[in-house]
């Protein structure tokens, strides 16, 4: 089976600094793949390049046989590769429901002019968006905070809102940027469940960048490990746990934590 998404020899240089050096790996359809590594390993940079938020210096990202690196973010999003952000990146003065509605705009059938004049198709869209937003928020367990303004939400809900906005675009691949950061054990476990159900019930392939080792080991089908911008390992959670290079990169701190 051909992989859904391929990262091919991707390199990113900022002036003299090499953030990512010659990184290659494949992402299969319907898998949950985590990218881990110590601070400054180049995980976020890699994510930005996959979502075309920043161009690659060399190499390319292939999605369903098409190059998606070095394009514009909105074009990559339209193809179905959507990233989420950390919690501060939200539509602050919109409610949760409004955010999810606006994120569905790619599914609109009516034209912008149709919306202006209030055509039948536009009214139909508006109804469908509202309905789907309700469904999605219920699926994510966010129905109660549906009419809450985003800026009033606690951190955990903001993270969920980010995922809701991402999901509303109907992505094939969802890139989650540190979905568990700053969460306690229970919150993390809930989020792990949520991310799994996104994959299982919505058929979305998930890639995530994360620091929380126990959660990563729990959730991932496969893991890619970066250190100083280089890929040092790739494999299943148990393979990664026993990989000497990885243990070395984390200075042995990893094996204490993974007994979860």
């Amino acid at each position: 089976m051909t992989p859904l998404l391929q990262v091919k020899n991707v390199t990113k240089k900022y002036g003299g600094l090499t953030a990512n050096n010659d990184i290659s790996f494949d992402v299969a359809e319907n898998e949950i793949l985590s990218v881990i590594g110590p601070n400054g390993a180049g995980k976020s940079t890699l994510f930005k390049m996959i979502a075309s938020f920043t161009p690659t210096t060399a190499g390319e990202v292939i999605y369903q046989g098409e190059r998606i690196s070095n394009l514009k973010p909105h074009i990559v999003a339209r193809k179905g590769v959507v990233r989420t952000f950390q919690e501060t990146t939200i539509f602050k003065s919109m409610t949760v429901h409004e955010s999810v509605v606006v994120a569905q705009h790619l599914r609109a059938k009516a034209s912008l002019a149709g919306y202006f004049w209030g055509s039948k198709a536009a009214q139909e869209d508006v109804r469908a968006f509202g309905k789907y937003a309700d469904e999605l928020l219920e699926f994510l367990g966010m129905s109660e905070i549906s009419s809450e303004q985003a800026s009033n939400l606690p951190q955990g809900s903001l993270r969920a809102l980010g995922i809701a906005i991402g999901l509303a675009t109907d992505p094939k691949v969802l890139l989650l940027d540190e979905p568990f950061a700053g969460m306690n054990h229970d919150e993390t476990m809930n989020m792990v469940k949520l991310v799994r159900s996104v994959r299982d019930e919505r058929g979305v392939t998930v890639m995530l960048v994360e620091h929380d080792m126990p959660a990563v080991m729990n959730i991932s089908d496969r893991i890619v490990v970066l250190n100083f911008g280089e890929k040092i390992a790739e494999g299943t959670p148990s393979e990664i746990q026993n990989n000497e290079k990885v243990i070395e990169a984390y200075l042995g701190s990893v094996d204490d934590e993974i007994g979860m």
């Binding site: 973010p73 999003a77 539509f91 602050k92 509605v101 912008l112 202006f116 991402g166």
Partner: protein
């Protein structure tokens, strides 16, 4: 009806009645004919301010609307005086030309955000003024004067618009024209803000990165909005030139551009009809303070500072609370 509540509809009805029947009646009774000119000016400035408000809606501070008003005024004047077009055709042409210029200028500068965009737009008015001084077609510092009044329009012998030159009361005719244009502008703005394009603008205003991650073509929408905004500026400016029957490089200055922006702040950035109220209050406020002579500016600025300090969401927030529209 049309998705409006009866309260909104009656509000609109009262407003229309007031400006089309109430105001002329009052002016007739009091004999203050000069108010026609004042109110016409307010209506036209409100059209230009509506454009500025729209650029605020995508998160850009626009202090350059004077430039587009001046462009509109010149384009219309040149088309009427030198090419011999009817004013009514030159009016949309002026708007379109201003929009075209906005696209060309917007392509490089709309990437800038916050204060950087504001600074560049601040320069635009001066650039257009200097261009008008330099170009032969704009007649330099002498400007274009003796612009004829709008001529009549008829299709197959049926008069659609009367000939302004043959009228006894051009003031009233201009007042009605300006009001109708203003109403069309604000109706357009209202529909736009409450349609999908408006929602996309709002998402961009709040977070451009997130907007692009959900597939919004932010650079395209920025250009479209800036073009529409400048179209309003061009229309307002062209109509002004026609009323004054002349255009000079100093017809619209940096101070006017700043005023357009202040109108939006004063009325409220969260309200479609904010700039309309803002323009009215600001224009009349300045005139009312005339009696204070040399203290006029001092009182005026102090009041403005106080309003912005205590009513950051504009005058309309007193009535409608934070952020609602209409």
């Amino acid at each position: 009806m049309f998705g409006f509540t009866s309260k909104q509809l009656s509000g609109v009805a009262i407003f229309l009645f007031a400006i089309f029947i109430g105001v002329p009646l009052l002016i007739g009774l009091t004999g203050r004919w000069d108010f026609y000119f004042t109110l016409t000016s307010v209506a036209l400035l409100a059209i230009a301010s509506a454009g500025v408000w729209l650029t605020f809606y995508i998160g850009r501070i626009n202090i350059g609307q004077g430039a587009f008003a001046l462009i509109g005024a010149y384009v219309s004047a040149i088309l009427v005086v030198k090419v011999g077009w009817s004013f009514w055709i030159s009016l949309p042409a002026a708007g379109l030309f201003a929009a075209l210029v906005a696209v060309l200028i917007g392509l490089p500068i709309l990437r800038l955000r916050g204060v950087y965009f504001a600074m560049i737009t601040l320069v635009l008015t001066q650039v257009v003024t200097l261009t008008a001084l330099a170009l032969p077609i704009t007649n330099g510092a002498k400007g274009i004067s003796n612009i004829p009044l709008p001529s009549g329009v008829s299709i197959f012998g049926i008069p659609l618009l009367p000939d302004f030159a043959g009228m006894e009361n051009t003031k009233l005719a201009f007042y009605y024209t300006a009001c109708i244009l203003m109403i069309i502008t604000y109706a357009t703005l209202y529909r736009l803000v409450n349609s999908r394009l408006g929602h996309l603008c709002r998402s961009m205003q709040q977070n451009e990165e997130l907007a692009s991650s959900i597939g919004v073509n932010i650079s395209y929408i920025r250009i479209v909005i800036f073009a529409i905004s400048s179209f309003f500026g061009g229309i307002g400016g062209a109509m002004f030139g026609s009323i004054a029957q002349s255009v000079y490089p100093s017809s619209f200055q940096v101070a006017d551009s700043v005023n357009f922006m202040l109108n939006c702040f004063l009325g409220g950035l969260g309200f479609v009809f904010g700039p309309m109220l803002g323009t009215l209050v600001l224009y009349f406020g300045w005139d009312l303070l005339f009696e204070f002579g040399k203290y006029q500016m001092l009182i005026y600025s102090t009041v403005l500072i106080l309003i912005i300090r205590f009513l950051p969401n504009g005058l309309l927030s007193i009535r409608f609370g934070k952020g609602g529209d209409k």
